[in-house]
Symmetry: C2
DNA sequence: TTAATATGTCAAGACACGTTGAGATGTAAG
DNA sequence: CTTACATCTCAACGTGTCTTGACATATTAA
């Protein structure tokens, strides 16, 4: 991920509705959710939802596919991990005190670390 | 870091000049840099630079202190690692495939991981 | 004090963003 | 074909963001 892509992703995530959509879709898994279900969860009108989903898709954070008369949206994991890696790469430039606490936060997640301590 | 703080931080970083300022200050270390030096590096006028530095300070990403007739700005490491941790926490909700690659990217940094492999 | 340096403040303008409501398009069922 | 459903597109409006230029404030030196 280069600077331009990172700026797009950061801009897309810096809006409340969009950040919540991404979080919802991450937890929804690879199958994603239909636009209608997302809109219901967000309490957003169809045009407002479409605006934000289009924005997220342009930023590469979500992808869509038609499923019957619905359109299902799902999170693009590579983009999310790419953004996190971009921030870490920058912040780690000789200053491990930035990213080391972030890695420690991983322990609080259900994620398997490369070298699990416990 | 809660959602509101994360939105502020993401919004602050989603602007080219501000993202570059943060990257510059992270590499500059704890002593930071004088506003004039930052402005020179950015090619920004004093008012434009002040606008962005104030924005970053309000978002909690940088801090300032007077040093003679200069004002030195430095990165707030806790805020940066907090943001990274926030993104990881959200993205890891049952989907380790998001944050595991990001952790792997750490190996490319000069950062000591909690359990260094090599 | 006076002058020079370093930075911040303010108002104005151009532009981008987010929301709304109406309508258009595509898809499936009767 | 007609109807209902699901979603997108478009224009319009208010609001926020970024830049610029002129000016104000704080600090140091002569």
């Amino acid at each position: 991920m280069d600077e331009t892509q990172a700026l797009d992703a950061l801009g897309a995530l810096s809006q409340e509705t969009r950040l919540r959509i991404v979080r919802l879709l991450v937890t929804a898994g690879p199958d994603g959710m239909a636009a209608g279900a997302i809109g219901e969860a967000m309490g957003a009108t169809s045009s407002r939802l479409s605006f934000h989903l289009t924005h997220l898709e342009h930023a590469g954070l979500v992808q869509s596919r038609r499923d019957g008369r619905s359109i299902r949206y799902s999170a693009v994991y590579d983009a999310l991990s790419g953004l996190i890696a971009f921030l870490m790469r920058d912040c780690c430039q000789g200053h491990p005190e930035v990213c080391t606490p972030a890695v420690a936060a991983l322990s609080a997640c259900a994620c398997p670390s490369p070298e699990p301590a416990a």
